[in-house]
Every structure is written in structure tokens, then in C-alpha cells.
Symmetry: C2
Subunit: 205 residues, 2 copies
């Protein structure tokens, strides 16, 4: 009966738009996933509520000065290694709530991957405030989506609840940072695990 | 005058014997460093005092349950990927004070790399208590070192002070976790950065 089986080569990508290391994976995953024959399901969520449950008021990169200083230098080196543009944002972490809601509202749309990449570039290359509706409207327009419709959807109760649910699901699955890739029941945390996660997904039927 | 210049292809390896990800790098670095033409300077230190300064009473893998659960699964996968033996220790984190003091006492000795590898294997493959003087004495004997002499040295004030100084230096250099590799003024944190650190060291004169 194998002729009827459906290949399940899929990776779930839990992404927070404020997350520096998520930027690396968002920019890298397209060509790698295509080469591996794996499809990407975008799972926008918020790390903030998960951090708050640990008693943290903000990013560990702010709460731990040495770790924060290291991260900024590491991001420079990583972007150089991967050939990615990079500018340290003047505000960190940026408010990623609006971008996440828009990504929830646009789930499954043909422009969603382009929107996620474009928004990451706005934050981490162009130093723009992705918390601003004007900025997000401009990015949506650039990727061929309808800004007014999507900003209205992002402000609607079902989309707000959808993002809360996605964040709850992330926590229930044991996710504690971003990016996190999920393949079946396996979690892969961090841009450094992207290749391993794709290899796992590519090997599944 | 280049004929008189001395190649400075060196990597400093800050290692805590209780650290799971340090186990991966300890077992991997020998052949990789040789292939890169880089010499390894072992820097045994303790993460405990650095964690306590952040207000943490123990390892973040215990304080954050989701991160801890992830780490144990990730270690299984990583060991499988690298072809390394692995057994989850029945006690974590093990007390690494004695092993670190012995490694300080044995700095520069011909058996030091073998002792560090052997001690990591005792902790992370054989589930033995590396905090016990009897266990450490046996490991020292196996690598051709003199147990009585080294246990006495480990209990001496200069060696105790030497470990405190090394831990202070680690903190002053911005180290916040293990393994950390230092090449010149660059820090590389985590087993995932071992190759990058070696490439950096190999490229220096």
C-alpha cells in the first residue's frame, strides 16, 4: 500500500520576529528546505509569555550582560559566515506582537514566507520599527499582500486568540527559545540545528 | 623577519567537567585541532560561581525544566551524530571541583589531555562520581599520572587559588557558559562553535 502513502517531509518553524538567531534561520531555510525536499510550516509565536513564566521580564540577552555582549558579536560573525546582511537594531528586543499577528492572519497565503523574510530584514538590516502598523503595512504592500485587510485581521479577536493558542502550544511542546524547529515529536532549538532538523524531516515518510 | 615569527595557532578551551556540551568538545577537539594545526591550551574552570553571580543556585538545565528536557534529548542525538558513547549521568550536575583542581595541578603535563578525556568519559559514559578522590585516583593511574602526588597538589592552597583565579579570569573575559573557546580576543561559546574557533585560530600568524 506504499503507493498510497503521503510523504510527510515537513518542518514546523517556530519563529519570533524579535529573535536575532531566528533571523539567520529565516534567511537560510528557503534554499535548504527546497534542496532537502521538505516543506516549511510557519509557526509565528511570542517568546515573551514563555520568558515571563520563567520569571524573566525581558530577553535573557538583556538580563545576562555577558551573554548579550557575546550574542551581538556572534551575530556579526554568523552573518558574515552565511553571507547575510546585518545591522544591530537600535532597539532590542523589538515588539514583535503585530508582526506575529499578521503572520497568523496570513497563514498559508502565497506571500507568507516573503513577508516573514521581509519583516526580519526590516528589523535586523534596516533597523526599522516592526511594531509600527505603518511599517508593517509597507512591508505587506511590498510582498503583494493587502495591508488594510491584514491589519484589520490582526486586530480581530480570532487572530489575537490564534496567536495566544500558538504560543500556548509552543510551551506545551516544550519550546523555550527561538528559532525552534519541530519534526514529528522532535524539537531542534537554534539556528545551529537547522540542518539536523531538515535531515530528520527529509528522512521521514 | 618572518622567518623568526612564531605561529600563534592556539585555542584556549575553557572546560567544566560537569558540563554536558563540554563532553562533546573534549572528545572531538583532538583530531580536529591536529588537522587544523592548532594547539590546545586547557583552561579548567568552574561555572558554579559564575551562575551564582547571576542569582542561579544550580545549572540552568535544572532551573528551566523545558530547557533541561531538551538538552538530554539533544545530547543523545549529538552523540549519535558524532559517533560518541553516551549514558545520561544519574547525578547532574556532578561536583567538578576536584577534577578541575587536579587539571590545574597537571597543567602542561603530557597526560593532561588524556586525563580530561578520561574524566569526561567517566562522568558521561560510565556514570561514575568524578567528585570522589578514589575515582579520580583511578583515572589518574590509567593515564600514567601519579595519583597521590596529584591529589595532594589538588588540596594545596596554590592549586585552589589557581582554580579561583582561572574562574575569575573566565568571568572577566565575558565567559558565561561551557565549553567556551578563546582565540585572541574572540569568544566562541558552545560545541557548535568548535569548528569556527579552530578555523579562526588556524588563520592566525
Amino acid at each position: 500500500m506504499t503507493g498510497f502513502s503521503v510523504a510527510k517531509r515537513e518542518i514546523e518553524f517556530f519563529v519570533d520576529f524579535a529573535s536575532t538567531y531566528s533571523y539567520l534561520s529565516v534567511m537560510r531555510i528557503g534554499s535548504l528546505a527546497t534542496a532537502a525536499g521538505v516543506s516549511v510550516r510557519w509557526r509565528p509565536f511570542l517568546l515573551g509569555p514563555i520568558f515571563r513564566e520563567l520569571g524573566w521580564s525581558t530577553s535573557p540577552f538583556l538580563l545576562q550582560a555577558a551573554k548579550g555582549a557575546y550574542m551581538w558579536r556572534d551575530m556579526e560573525r554568523q552573518c558574515s559566515k552565511y553571507g547575510l546582511a546585518w545591522r544591530r537594531p537600535s532597539e532590542f528586543p523589538r515588539n514583535s506582537l503585530l508582526a506575529a499577528r499578521v503572520a497568523i492572519a496570513g497563514e498559508g497565503q502565497p506571500w507568507i514566507a516573503a513577508f516573514i523574510r521581509r519583516t526580519m530584514t526590516a528589523n535586523f538590516v534596516e533597523d526599522r520599527d516592526i511594531g509600527s502598523p505603518e511599517v508593517i503595512a509597507g512591508l505587506l504592500r511590498e510582498v503583494g499582500a493587502a495591508p488594510n485587510e491584514l491589519l484589520a485581521a490582526a486586530a480581530s479577536e480570532p487572530v489575537k486568540a490564534g496567536l495566544r493558542t500558538q504560543t500556548d502550544k509552543a510551551r506545551q511542546r516544550g519550546i523555550f527559545g527561538a528559532p525552534t524547529f519541530v519534526v514529528g515529536a522532535e524539537l531542534y532549538w537554534g539556528n545551529d540545528r537547522l540542518e539536523d532538523a531538515l535531515a530528520d524531516a527529509a528522512g521521514r515518510q
